[in-house]
Symmetry: C2
Subunit: 369 residues, 2 copies
Amino acid sequence: MADEATTQGERSAPHRSTSDLSERQRIVLRAVVEDYVLNAIPVGSQALVDRYGLLVSSATVRSAMAELEALGLLSHPHTSAGRVPSDLGYRIYVESLMRESALDNADQLMIRHQFSQVQLTSNEWLRLAASILATSTRSAAVVTPARARRAKYGHIQLVELSDQTRMAVLVLGDGNVVQRRLDRGAIDRLAQGQATSQAELDAAAAALNAELSGLSAPQVRRRATKLNPLPAHVAEVVAQMLEEADHIAVEEVFTDGIVNVLEQPEFAEGAKLRGVLEVLQRSDFLEQLVPVLTRRGGVTVIIGHENVNDAMHEVSLVFAPYGNTDSALGLLGVLGPTRMPYPRAIPTVRYLSTLMNELISSHSGETHD
Amino acid sequence: MADEATTQGERSAPHRSTSDLSERQRIVLRAVVEDYVLNAIPVGSQALVDRYGLLVSSATVRSAMAELEALGLLSHPHTSAGRVPSDLGYRIYVESLMRESALDNADQLMIRHQFSQVQLTSNEWLRLAASILATSTRSAAVVTPARARRAKYGHIQLVELSDQTRMAVLVLGDGNVVQRRLDRGAIDRLAQGQATSQAELDAAAAALNAELSGLSAPQVRRRATKLNPLPAHVAEVVAQMLEEADHIAVEEVFTDGIVNVLEQPEFAEGAKLRGVLEVLQRSDFLEQLVPVLTRRGGVTVIIGHENVNDAMHEVSLVFAPYGNTDSALGLLGVLGPTRMPYPRAIPTVRYLSTLMNELISSHSGETHD
DNA sequence: ATTAGCACTCTCACCATTAGAGTGCTAACG
DNA sequence: CGTTAGCACTCTAATGGTGAGAGTGCTAAT
């Protein structure tokens, strides 16, 4: 169960397993991590025996700590300070020291209940998921809508809004909707030089819907050559829309709880804060995440320097994909300081990803409650 | 021209006009504001004569400053510090001291050019507007899409996405699009208990489009009673969608340049920062802004405590509405510290609002370039 | 009305000192 | 041999004192 949560850390050479550690080292490391996660102050040997009922003296703990430091799992801000887990220390903790449990039943019910309260809009689901993640892990949450890897044509609607404006509304195969204004001049020229009527637009839309269903951008382009001038022109626009939809658009990413992160003492000063905020605003780090997440499925934890993105060396990610891997894929997870409550974050992310799966794949069938 | 930029400060009793001030006071106040806006450090009498070529001695300036302080336009962090403008001081400055010019031609062209580069998506426009505002004023920019005060039915499309999923995509009268999943169970029951086909959905959509065009939520509800079961059921959903669209949804607000604000020295420490960020995230302050902005049109400046929202006593807003006041209305503007470069922000906001007007009302007609 | 001069106030940077926390080492102990 | 008590050592963080500098407000002279 706990080993589902793994990492992209495979390149960092010696994959140190828990078996390298003595029982005492394991206990001490776990205690250090948990204490530091809780209090954000480097933890000393004495504090550890006091607070965790260890049956040995502080001196013994000290030597264990020294060993762990030699292994690179703990570090030392300065001579007379307590120990702090290193990224690698957190990694070992996450992989084999952490007592991870599934989300308890009360929490699960509470979350389900919130979802049942909400309107059937997928945007509302996403917002809610982000909000739940953020409050329950006290980190920043990020949720992207589920989208097909390659956008496919679903169904189009051409609307005359006013004399001046015609609009194309394209429903993608994955249920997402993209819209675009049409250049009226170009359209009218194609339709016998007259102002196009709604009827003509409907006819064009019907032609497109008959021809293009399920096609991707290049396929649409190829097929367009066989159409009449007006539908052909729109088909080109459609192809562009499909291409754009192939990226995760920042505007569609739901985030919540950014303040949770900024409140953490490690981001008290401006510089680091700025970096985090910038990353979070333009959420392009998500694009880099997609391949990693899909390759392994389940919950992925990326701790500090394990992240390839320089700006994120001070933070950890706990993310999972959701949705049907090939037809529609979304990402969801939390971002927080490396000093993150992993035993809480991981099950929450896991649970929410399965929940979103249910919602997305079979909404209407069974009622889940 | 400068008096277009006014405020909601009318309730604060003595509307002190510029005529109350001597010429010297005016010069000193202007210099203090401009220096402080530039350097963010309280400005002393000596610095003022040095930097602004005043032909008087520092002692004279000091007495002028003392007068201004008595009038409540300047204030004094502590005995031996320089002066800082008060909210009221900024107000006077904005209303009658500031040398505001229209945006110069180069800037205008540069902005227009950027808009011409971009795809015809209205979302892209909004994003671009936010980005331009943010970079050119070095503040946080906020742009909402233009939406009708009361959402009106435009055109609907009912799509069968998969066996399980049917979706309603509603184009509003103002060109915005809202979507919603339909409860398949309910629908099938209405359609003779069979799985509804795309053809049936199309028929229902056609019926709705014929009946509901231009109607608001309550009107749709009333009309629904006269429809067949399936369209009637969808009409109810439509009414709900229209109602939801009547709020400014946070998800649709485009912000940019938040970091610009957080970099400002006045937000160096955590507490204030937190407030600002929270306000900016859940952008409900915009709702409060709508009536004020529409009542007066043009650019509105709200400085520090003039804002009714407690969390925004440390910041200033420079906002303008855009769009056709009755058919579709959007907001755009910047948020920054009270120490804001008003002479730059105001013309920029003004220009962008007129530009968005052009884009929105007649996009296709004339080419603007 | 303006200005030079001056006493006064307050901040800020600098320094020294100290208390406390925590370590690492060593020697003693079971 | 692992564990522990004891102790010297190091580093931080808080405290307080000092002095320079900036800026004011007042007064008296121009």
